[in-house]
Homo-oligomer: 332 residues x 2
């Protein structure tokens, strides 16, 4: 109850003009220390809080960024989100969160609705829309940072996880362990990170002149069941395969489950390596060998990039490269 305290009220109470109050709270100087204090007192007493919305309308900036992820429930993203939040908070930005559910249509909706302003910039992670759509989008909309996409466009930043190197590390590790028939659970084919990981996988296999049929690379949803089913399918069609490289840890976990349920011992008879190093990878039994990605860093640096972009929306920031690391545990 009670009307909102406006800047006018403060001005009246302090015996100055609105503009002076505005100057005070945004410490623009151009204001004498004494009036500044007078104003600040009035602010305190009335409990005045400037309206973010009104300010947004006047300045055309809302101090808000939008974070778009496929699904916050996917264990990869909470840490990323956390990184984003922390970076945003440091700069006094708020962050909106949206889930696309891996659906391009849904993603379009969100992006479209984001255009009607609430945000100053967008962080697009795990995008599933195609490159041309993304480019036209980047052209018409505000600063944007994308994950694992190469878009050479002023005003858009890129964060690139080294998927290719990660996949190679994984495969080489498997080869070192003596495996010669290696399969891959490729995840969602539409995803660029899947393409990159498959690329690294193929390259490593070929370099070592190991046999590889296309049917040893099976796509599937990046979920536990996706991993389980992929592994079962491979078990059936390619029983010679003794090791699996999975698109991500969740799929890898599913694969391990499938193996165990089918009576194989991991890692003695079948080995599995995942990707991401999500929190639980070290808790399961056997502990999951995986490629670690610093997820917090991904979020944090992406947000920083976006923040910089918002200062100067026309620059072409260098891509932020995120390195990866092989973490060996018991599943290989």
């Amino acid at each position: 109850m009670g009307r909102r305290v406006t800047i006018e009220d403060v001005a009246r109470a302090a015996g100055v003009s609105r503009q002076t109050v505005s100057r005070a709270i945004n410490n623009k100087r151009e204001i004498s220390p004494i009036t500044l204090e007078r104003v600040m007192n009035a602010v305190q007493q009335l409990g005045y809080r400037p309206s973010w919305v009104a300010r947004g309308l006047a300045t055309q900036r809302t101090h808000t960024i939008g974070l778009v992820v496929p699904d916050i429930t996917n264990p990869f993203f909470p840490e990323v989100a956390r990184g984003v939040q922390d970076a945003a908070r440091a700069a006094e930005y708020n962050v909106f969160l949206y889930n696309t559910d891996e659906s391009a249509e849904r993603e379009h909706q969100i992006l479209y609705s984001l255009a009607s302003q609430p945000v100053d910039g967008i962080l697009l992670f795990g995008s599933r829309i195609d490159d041309s759509d993304l480019t036209t989008f980047a052209e018409s909309y505000r600063p944007l940072v994308v994950l694992n996409r190469r878009i050479g466009h002023p005003g858009v930043g890129m964060v690139l996880v080294d998927n290719y190197a990660g996949a190679r590390l994984a495969v080489e590790h498997l080869i070192n362990r003596g495996h010669r028939h290696i399969g891959m659970l490729a995840g969602p084919l539409a995803s660029p990170s899947s393409i990159q990981r498959v690329g690294g996988f193929r390259a490593a296999i070929e370099q070592h002149q190991l046999p590889l049929q296309d049917s040893c690379i099976v796509p599937g949803p990046p979920t536990l069941d996706g991993g389980r089913e992929g592994a079962e399918q491979l078990l059936y069609h390619h029983p010679e395969i003794t090791a699996l490289f999975a698109y991500n840890d969740v799929m890898a976990l599913g694969a391990v489950q499938a193996y165990i349920e089918s009576g194989y011992r991991v890692p003695d008879e079948r080995a599995v390596v995942g990707f991401d190093d999500i929190w639980i990878a070290e808790l399961v039994h056997p502990g999951l060998t995986t490629i670690r990605v610093n997820k917090y860093e991904v979020g944090y640096r992406a947000a920083q990039c976006l923040l910089a972009l918002m200062e100067d929306p026309m620059q072409c920031p260098p891509a932020v490269e995120i390195g990866v690391e092989l973490i060996i545990r018991e599943s290989t």
Copy 2:
């Protein structure tokens, strides 16, 4: 580039007044079908998108809610957040996400900053500020829904997980399994859910007339390490304890680890039951016996409650009760 398309542009293009355009896009009827179509065409052609901010200033509603959680990285919260998002999306609301890091000070900051408007309502989960602060907060601010707090105040909704019953279920299960010396990892004592779970724990123990010293209930941060350390401590001071009820699954997992590292077999020599049934509880080995809380439902229904509250901010909605369920796996 290019100025923003305003409602005036549309009005001009369609040969009508701003107000008519406004009516059209908010389908207030009071508008003839023919002009409606004319306006809509103009909207299409110019690619007009009403400014959320300007509308917010005029209507004093931003169509935004704020979700405050201790840490989105805590595996309990992503699912909750997901439920919130989905409910919000259905009503065309955006959601801000904030992390308090279990810090009361940080929470105050956030709540305070939220007062300067960006949100129409607040979802406060895992609050760590004390009851009186919370009440004064509830009085002065906009609609609010809190989790696991009893605040009888018009305009504030409550979502209550049945912690008490959950704790009893857990303890009784342990007793059925033959345990007579049962300890508890109590989590953060400041948290109401901790208090409630401890209450249920005590009640069950007493009802079955089992021995219980206060030192068998050890507090600690709700993390893996918190659980591990608590278990070690108990192992040292109360070696007679054969079963543990943990504040949450993460602590329970830590406890299991501690036991295994100390050479105890779970569940043969030591049993552990958790709380929440987070995603990974069934993936670890041994699978974790736990009290399941439907986290998605918590978020979804909380958001619905908030939405209702925003329609009529002075009502006292009934508390939303969330039931729990004992899930028996291999850790007991």
